[in-house]
Amino acid sequence: MNKRYLSLIGMLILLVTGIRAQTTSDLRLNELLPLNVDNYEDDFGIRSAWIEIFNTSYSTVDIGGCFLTNDIKEPTKYRIPKGDVLTKIKPRQHVLFWADNKPVHGTFHVNFTLSESNFVALFASDGKTLIDSIRFPEPVADVSYGRLTDGGKKWASLDRTTPNSTNTIVEPETENNKLLEKDPIGIVMSVTAMSVVFIALALLFLIFKIIGKNAIVINHKRAVRAAVKQEKYNKPPIMASGQESGEICAAIVFAIDDYLKDEHDIENTILTITKVARTYSPWSSKIYNLRQFPR
């Protein structure tokens, strides 16, 4: 029972919101350009005043049958023709009407201009219900008057005209601009970055200091153990690998280098037996390189 009630209520809500969404009451006058000197052109290449209407709802609304006027006493001055597919305004979209007093130019050309009065109104299809109206200030050439945000409450002269598009122009603030604004000479950035560099390398320093200390201890223990072992067999102690001093290592390296450079073959009495190395690698193996015949 409860489920039935709930689903009924749900359906009712959907129905009501659906109907509500498709009503023309969601339409708003959004932007006007009363004096078009060097701005947007219509399809005939003519510059005229224009009125932008915005569909605030999330459903398509048909503006056909509604009335536009510039005289409150004459609400049905221009009836927007019905049956034109272009009068269906998609959700959150705009439509533009040319106030050029040339209705013969099409659906979107009204039979009045905005120079006659500083007023525009949109009436519902009954010709009585006022949907939206606006009284605009003295026109300035190519400066539009509109809502600061699409469908919002506040009207003002806009920085730039935005016919058929959103009034909300937010310049995307780049990382560069943000940084320049907050840190104009880069001191914060420099301090932060230097700190990170120092922290990273200081941590590496600490870790290897600990590793180094342990390595020394381990090597020392190994050396002691080796010494004890050697003593046991009464032999001279052998240093553990890694315990030789830098000087010893250098001496060994030079000795080997000299030895190799001299190529002791020149000494007649010494016979050198060099191993011919043929290192096996699957990459050089013949069996992987030869083409196998199909059987």
Partner: protein, 384 residues
């Protein structure tokens, strides 16, 4: 006969229009002279010949005037040079060079005396000093960072960062970085002498201890994990650097290490040098910004060198008598491997011929490579 002659003249005239002689400008001549200077310095003075010869010849290649539309220029989509240049533009070459650097670098001096790492960090001040100066001179933060990285004295890092943050000034940044790297023996000594006393220059450092194989293997692994966890944006450079070093130190991948530090780095160096040189076409390179970039680059090198030397002096205040560090190795904190370490050795020997600083200076030198890659990662993280 007359018709044939006029046809021939017309054809020759048409051909002349396509020649470099017909299209040459004053800028091209200037840049060709710059290229010739680079080649001369490399061959006669032997200043960084591995870099200056390819770059110098690249400048010549890039500044042969031609009739546009022939698909031969470096900026013409689809040309051979353009395809090769994509390695610079997209930042592919620098990590490969870092792989080779890692495979040829011995971090033993750093592992045996890890406090030298801090000198490498201090010298990165040059990067940020230049960053601030660039901002003051009106460059955008992304450009300022690309110019600042010249102070890291690390060509591949400079190319990597500039290609990501400010590709428009990539040519100027790269040429500036490599030029100053070649000029390290001239720029650094006066600064080193200015900030040190005779007594300090005579400091003898404790010989480095022998480093075990285990420590050498641990260094690239720990170094990579630590630095990349802190600055993941430095992953391409740091990852390749430490990977290359592991190939070298593991002892079981000798062939791979040899390839990385031999043929591979040579191939990439040739490609990066020629294409960076060729990218300096007079039309894009000879602008007032390039002069500013060169000036800031010099400033960053001076700051980096001074910061390294002064940091050692400060560090010495906290060290016991036997453990003091010779401040002449402070200059090696800028990357420029191994030139800046060589400068430490040469200057040190001028005052005490038996004092060999080269091995000690290699510590901050390789630390500088890590430090500049970390700094580049930070700048990339903040500004990309």
């Amino acid at each position: 006969m007359n018709e044939s002659l006029s046809f021939l003249t017309e054809n020759l005239g048409e051909f002349f229009k396509y020649t470099g002689i017909a299209n040459v400008t004053f800028g091209h001549i200037v840049m060709i002279c710059v290229g010739l200077i680079f080649i001369t310095l490399a061959i006669v003075k032997e200043w960084e010949p591995m870099l200056l010869v390819p770059i110098g010849f690249g400048i010549l290649i890039g500044n042969i005037p031609f009739f546009s539309g022939l698909q031969v220029g470096i900026y013409e989509e689809g040309s051979v040079l353009n395809i090769l240049y994509s390695g610079v533009r997209n930042g592919w070459y620098p990590p490969l060079i870092f792989l080779g650097i890692g495979a040829m670098t011995d971090f033993s001096s750093l592992v045996s005396n890890p406090k030298l790492l801090l000198i490498g960090a201090a010298a990165q001040l040059g990067i940020f000093g230049a960053y601030m100066l660039s901002l003051l001179l009106g460059f955008a933060p992304n450009e300022a960072a690309s110019i600042g990285i010249i102070g890291g004295a690390d060509g591949p890092t400079a190319i990597f960062l500039a290609s990501r943050l400010a590709p428009d000034i990539l040519g100027a940044v790269a040429i500036s970085a490599y030029s100053y790297m070649a000029l390290v023996p001239l720029i650094q000594p006066p600064i080193m002498k200015l900030f040190t006393t005779r007594k300090e220059r005579l400091i003898r450092m404790k010989p480095p201890r022998a480093v075990s194989q285990t420590e050498k293997i641990l260094f690239p692994i720990v170094g990579f994990l630590l630095t990349c966890f802190i600055v993941p944006s430095g992953l391409p450079l740091l990852g390749m650097l430490f990977f290359g070093n592991l190939l070298k130190e593991s002892g079981v991948t000798r062939r791979l290490a040899e390839t990385a530090r031999g043929p591979m780095i040579d191939i990439v160096t040739i490609l990066i040098g020629v294409t960076v040189g060729a990218s300096t076409q007079a039309t894009t390179f000879l602008v007032s910004e390039s002069v500013k970039i060169f000036a800031i680059g010099a400033f960053s090198f001076i700051i980096a060198t001074a910061a390294g030397v002064l940091f050692v002096k400060v560090l010495n205040l906290f060290l016991k008598k036997g453990n003091k560090i010779n401040p002449l190795i402070g200059n090696a904190g800028v990357s420029a491997v191994p030139d800046s370490a060589r400068v430490s050795q040469i200057i040190g020997q001028q005052y005490d011929p038996s004092n060999h600083l080269l091995m000690h200076a290699m510590g901050p030198n390789v630390a500088g490579v890590i430090g500049s890659a970390v700094a580049a990662g930070i700048l990339l993280g903040f500004l990309s």
